[in-house]
Symmetry: C2
Subunit: 256 residues, 2 copies
DNA sequence: AAACGCACTTGACCCGGGTCATTGTGGACG
DNA sequence: CGTCCACAATGACCCGGGTCAAGTGCGTTT
């Protein structure tokens, strides 16, 4: 990691615990462990700046990172979230086109770039995994474009909730079955959500309350939403096949 | 290619003419040529349907393809354009998540999938190229999200024009230096443009004329736009560094 | 040359949401 | 226990653009 990164603590790293790596054979994994370090970030800390050329490849172990681009007019747009298991950084080349920040407390493990790329060349399995990872990311970006294309803010929120549901299922501090249906935790503020969905905090607020009034969701707390009608949400998002469920935030859609 | 594809004519293929392949050594290229066929499509023809599992990897030789997703509510959203040199289809796995149609007359060459993947495994250079291609696509998708995030339609149009300019520079039937500045050809209809930019044809029209009234562009013909003030366009699009210029429609941003 | 079709343009109307301002609300801290 | 502060919610206002409906221009047909 570049040194300007307000140096979070750092220590070793057990890759076996990261789902995405458990298919690799242990030789590859051992080689990875050797060039891996773990870093911790507090919410709001910068992980990488736009334009920066990272000397590492990163992998999120816990928490959320957001990728965002600051625009000339001051607008700031989030182009994606990174959650547990997601990788970032550029293999073989180049500068980032967006900044990466911790959206919540987060653990990130990093591989030094040169040895990582060497490994890539020597270990086709690993290169294959990286390639599939990137394909996944591409799919998520496209799904995200579909969500953003929704003309009404409430539709975009609905799409986002669907994504959260499918992504968080199984992670019990983010997704639980309440007595009246599933509940998701929104891990980011209204302001971040607004950036994410291309709108303003006020409209996010209005959107949530519109969905609540329609009976599709229940606002248990600002950051805790009860899902009451999944199908209606999908319709609101304009999603025909709940395909968004696999969208935006991580989750391998295919395996090696 | 799957057989339902209203069979365009097809013949051999000279890969050396496709810019993206000219860095590969001739051995790899010969191997590719052996599994390559060229197909021609008329504007509007379907190249691949959403959900279909292509048995080929494709590469655009001329013209435009558009990737689009039809939504439950009838809306239809374009998630990207493919131009000369761009590749599509999925290596190693999976169904397409969107349909691919010819936006204009187009030539496409295809590689049968199984032998292509075999080549990938045997030829690291090729796999590297494919990986970089996908990374490029990802960047373009993110840039496109930035354009789509622009709240005003005129800003989105401005962003689109920037992309066209940078992408078309050098292709003289699409981009020429007129006496009062560069001129780009818009290769698709207002209706398509509306789908692309997440709006309606009427607003596209109004947007163009707003930019024209501001003096940023001149509408020589509906499909032929004179660029008068590149900087103002960039500002309108909210782009701080003209980064969009390398966006959406193809164009390797990095090389092997 | 007249008629037709298609794509683009223009106008009128109205709703969603951006914007600004104000008012809750809950947690941290003295 | 009260103060402070950040965030969320709500209200008022107005502009952009979605929508529906004509109108225009150009190429093609007969």
């Amino acid at each position: 990691m570049a040194t300007h990164r307000s140096d979070p603590e750092s220590d070793g790293c057990e890759l076996t615990k990261v789902a995405r790596f458990d298919r690799l054979d242990s030789g590859v994994r051992d080689a990875l462990e050797a060039i891996c370090r773990t870093h911790r970030y507090r919410a709001g800390q910068t992980v990488a700046r736009s334009g920066e050329t990272l000397d590492t490849i990163g992998c999120v172990r816990s928490g959320f990172l957001r990728m965002q681009k600051r625009l000339a007019d001051g607008r700031q747009h989030v182009v994606g979230l990174l959650v547990e298991g997601d990788m970032f950084g550029r293999v073989f080349d180049g500068a980032l086109h967006f900044a990466i920040e911790a959206a919540t407390e987060a653990e990130v493990c990093t591989f030094r770039r040169a040895p990582f790329e060497e490994l890539l060349v020597r270990m086709p399995d690993l290169e294959r995994m990286v390639l599939l990872n990137i394909l996944n990311e591409l799919d998520r970006a496209r799904d995200w474009m579909i969500i953003l294309s929704c003309p009404r803010v409430s539709g975009r929120i609905a799409g986002f909730l669907l994504v959260l549901c499918s992504r968080f299922a199984g992670i019990d501090h983010l997704f639980r079955a309440g007595r009246r249906g599933p509940e998701v935790r929104i891990p980011i503020s209204r302001a971040d959500l607004a950036h994410l969905l291309g709108t303003r905090p006020e409209s996010i607020s209005r959107g949530f309350h519109a969905l609540a009034e329609a009976g599709y969701i229940e606002i248990l707390r600002p950051d805790r939403i009860g899902i009451r009608d999944l199908t209606a949400l999908a319709a609101e998002a304009g999603d025909d096949d709940l395909a968004l469920g696999a969208g935006l935030v991580g989750g391998p859609r295919r395996t090696v």
